[in-house]
């Protein structure tokens, strides 16, 4: 090839505006998200044992494998090193119950990447959060085994117990807040320890990978909405702090709802998105048939993100009303 015209060797691609300015490359940000998940990983191993590493590794491996296969089939550039498939795999594993069947984990991983992400066009085009979509599919496919929760800190995996939310909803047994904070309760692998999630989530906010608006909107409005019901009937409905710490709320707040692709891009939109998610969560938890509603609340709001973006376009400076 002729060396005097090197510009021809570059493939310059431009996409339509708006372009979001960011100091992070996708790759670097993704690896920082993976780093922020380390405390959650440690907490899941502490409370549910080293055995759970098999679920996590199967989930990550099948996510990577599916992504590789589909990229090859569609004859696209293989971009495994951007880490997005690893994040999906980790997130999916962290929202599955401990000792979940490995076969089903693999199916969930394949659904997450194959259908929820790649069929919609790959990273950046998916409407729904891939890990949550995979979990929703597993919830429909294996309704019994996905709601079988192992008690933490037990070597025998036959001892099952209800999650704090289910225990309160069906039997009115409340769990003390300190064990909810440390994570010594039954629940999905990564969602039990509020402390570990807060370390990872605040790290993401402080280094600027995740915008503070969505988590702040979600936490404030969850406290607000659940306080309304708590004041009305403190026995029937749990207090706001319990709602904040129990179940997958904090994990969903910091790692699921803030997903770049499936959350609004405008500041006003982020507030609306966060408030509506919390509203749906309180609605499902207090009045729905299921004890936990974080997954469905975020998925429902994911589908509304294009509409939120459209209606919250900021006014151009100097524009007349």
């Amino acid at each position: 090839m002729n060396n005097t015209t090197p510009i021809k060797n570059y493939k310059l691609e431009l996409s339509a505006a708006p372009h979001i300015h960011s100091k992070w490359s996708t790759k670097k940000a993704m690896w920082l998200v993976i780093l922020s998940l380390v405390p959650v990983l440690i907490s899941s191993i502490i409370f549910f044992g080293l055995k759970q590493l098999s679920i996590i590794s199967v989930s990550v491996a099948f996510c990577l494998l599916t992504e590789l296969t589909i990229k090859k089939l569609r004859k696209k550039e293989v971009t495994l090193d951007d880490g997005s498939a690893i994040i999906t795999g980790l997130l999916l594993a962290f929202i599955l119950p401990p000792n979940f069947s490995l076969f089903a984990t693999a199916i969930g991983a394949i659904f997450s990447i194959g259908i929820a992400k790649e069929l919609f066009g790959g990273l950046g085009f998916n409407i729904f959060n891939p890990a949550l979509a995979g979990r929703a599919f597993l919830q429909a496919a294996y309704p019994v085994s996905i709601t079988t929760w192992t008690k933490p800190n037990y070597d025998v995996d036959t001892i099952t117990s209800a999650t704090p939310l289910a225990a309160y909803k069906f039997d009115k047994i409340s769990t003390d807040l300190s064990s909810l904070f440390w994570g010594n309760v039954s629940g999905s692998l990564g969602e039990t320890s509020a402390l570990a999630i807060l370390i990872g989530g605040l790290f993401l906010i402080f280094i600027g990978v995740v915008n503070y608006r969505i988590p702040l909107a979600m936490i404030l409005s969850l406290i607000f909405f659940s306080a309304i019901f708590w004041i009305i009937d403190p026995f029937k409905y749990q207090n706001p702090i319990f709602h904040l710490l129990a179940g997958g709320f904090l994990f969903g707040t910091f790692f699921m709802a803030t997903d770049w692709v499936t959350s609004p891009i405008t500041s006003k939109g982020m507030w609306i998105y966060g408030i509506l998610i919390s509203f749906l969560i309180v609605l499902i938890r207090n009045f729905g048939g299921l004890p936990e509603g974080v997954m469905y609340a975020i998925l429902i709001m994911n589908s509304l993100v294009p509409a939120i973006n459209r209606f919250t376009v900021p006014k151009i400076f100097g524009e007349k009303k």
Partner: protein
């Protein structure tokens, strides 16, 4: 293939204008009854029976029906055959009739039958209409068997009631729920669309190559002259 030939009228229903994957008609039975293969086959056979006989009758009296009341006339013809099917199934196959439930009487408003009556049988002669109805019925049967076998295999790990997959396979309950029908149908349709798209692309490329070759040849001749 000659577009006017009789064999074409039969064959086109299987792939080219397949009622499920190309015309996207009859979605309601397609999504609802494909829980098991046997249900799918029974539904397709019942629909085909009504389709063939109503197409035949409509084609026979197509010149007698005034244009303004044609839909009403078609519905009466279709409804009478559906009633026959429903009664026969209740008498001879009560189990099947129960599992298909309201979907047998609903064949009256099945879009495939009305669609073929309006689009084909009312304009063509009896033999062509019969072949068209048979072809569409066969296409419907193939589509239903395809969807229902995937759903039954994954949802209850069996095909036609025989256990196929080993016990270690945990059946995916979602596949026998309505959501499974949408997922299966969507994936199959995407697959078939990509197949026909690929075919179209290759035909286009062939055509371009043919004409560009001709162009090069003629320009070469021009240069030589």
């Amino acid at each position: 293939m000659n577009k006017k030939s009789y064999s074409y009228e039969f064959v086109k229903g299987i792939w080219e204008i397949n009622p499920i994957f190309k015309q996207i008609l009859g979605m309601c039975p397609t999504l609802a009854v494909t829980v098991s293969v046997i249900n799918g086959i029974a539904m397709a056979l019942a629909t085909t029976f009504v389709l063939v006989f109503s197409s035949f009758l409509i084609s026979l009296i197509r010149k007698l029906i005034p244009n303004q009341v044609r839909i009403a006339a078609y519905i009466i013809i279709i409804a009478s055959f559906v009633t026959i099917t429903d009664l026969v199934m209740k008498a001879k196959f009560p189990e099947m009739s129960k599992s298909l439930g309201p979907f047998i009487p609903l064949i009256v408003v099945n879009c495939i039958i009305l669609g073929r009556a309006e689009a084909f049988a009312s304009k063509n002669n009896i033999l062509k209409s019969l072949l068209d109805a048979l072809g569409n019925g066969l296409g419907f049967l193939i589509g239903l068997i395809l969807i229902s076998s995937i759903r039954e295999l994954l949802g209850s790990s069996s095909i036609l009631g025989f256990k196929v997959l080993p016990n270690s396979f945990d059946p995916l309950i979602v596949m026998i729920l309505p959501a499974g029908a949408f997922i299966t149908f969507g994936l199959l349709m995407g697959f078939f669309n990509s197949l026909s798209l690929r075919k179209k692309e290759s035909e286009k490329e062939k055509l371009i190559k043919k004409y560009s070759d001709k162009l090069i040849k003629s320009s070469n001749e021009l240069v030589e002259n």
